[in-house]
Symmetry: C2
Subunit: 210 residues, 2 copies
């Protein structure tokens, strides 16, 4: 199911681009090509989510976009905090994909006093204020970008404070208490995966491609 939800995000982006290009209707095949999946997956996803708007000439883009917004509304209305404002953390704080209509980071936290920036957008605050900010903003999601040795402790603290979903960039496996969900983005592993694909003899099957 999480794959379906993630594909919805991809469809939304593709549909917005197609709409901006002046297109009014798409077939499942065209949307699949733009989103990197297959027409049958698009049709199945649309059916699961009850996305309507299919007529001759394909789905009405505006209609489908509205449907996707409704589905993702509850998902996107959650507050996000980020812990660990080193190079990667600061880049994520400013990452455009995290500051659009949907999910937006409300604050960053760092133990290093030199990184505190109360006037930043979003601000970077000391960890002592995490409890207050999470409670005031009702944030339920956190991004962990601390060094690996500090990651588990950070997760434990966030879970205590009511955080329910965590996107973890620390390259270490974290143990989450029941009711807290962790997704790992291990950049080193992703790069090693690509390197392995690149090291294959030319012409080797590449069905592993994303």
């Amino acid at each position: 199911m999480i794959d379906r939800i993630q594909r919805l995000t991809a469809y939304r982006r593709s549909l917005e681009r197609l709409k901006a290009a002046g297109i009014l209707r798409v077939t499942s095949g065209l949307l699949a090509e733009a989103s990197g999946t297959s027409a049958s997956v698009v049709r199945k996803d649309f059916s699961v989510f009850g996305l309507q708007g299919k007529r001759r000439g394909g789905y009405g883009i505006s209609e489908v976009l509205e449907g996707i917004s409704t589905i993702l509304e509850g998902v996107s209305r959650q507050g996000v905090v980020l812990v660990g404002c080193g190079n990667l953390g600061q880049a994520l704080l400013r990452y455009a994909g995290f500051s659009g209509d949907g999910l937006a980071i409300t604050a960053g936290f760092d133990t290093d006093p030199a990184r505190i920036n109360r006037r930043g957008k979003p601000p970077i605050l000391p960890p002592g204020e995490m409890s207050r900010v999470i409670s005031e903003t009702g944030a339920t999601i956190a991004i962990i970008a601390v060094p690996d040795f500090a990651a588990q402790e950070t997760l434990n603290r966030l879970a205590e404070l009511g955080i329910r979903g965590i996107l973890n960039f620390a390259p270490v496996h974290l143990h989450a208490p029941a009711g807290t969900h962790v997704r790992n983005v291990n950049l080193e592993m992703e790069l090693e995966g690509v390197a392995w694909l690149a090291s294959l003899p030319a012409g080797a099957p590449d069905k592993e491609d994303a």
Copy 2:
């Protein structure tokens, strides 16, 4: 198979930490717990890669680490370039996980003259020098961190220059020519996935957890 290769990277990290903690041997169960997988997956992976060193009391950590190094040697000896040195690109240039023993970024490229930094480690150069640098360093891997509208064109150019593996951070589906492999890291989709998990009623099955 790419999952297996990526797990090898995770095992290596876990084993290095265990070794640093003074431990000499691990069971598949302990390694699985540290790496976020199951003991049977560890045993299967070790068997597929012919990793030896199992005796009573588990696998010898040094022996397994040597085996993993040998397997990954060809993979890790490839040069990496990065295209697009905005916030995210610059964070990736400095990302410690990309500058260790293995894969390291040799240069970044950006069209914005203000971002050029020839003395940087790694340097940031204008795109006009991409052909020379890739040919001189023999780089076969690239990271794309350009805005989405420029991503496909960047991929095409990199493929022409002999790049065989691409890690794409632009939130758009790219079409790769035969022989070029693309892996996508879509941070927005990852965050939406976590947000969806966090929005589930407490107690809902969380088998989607990473």
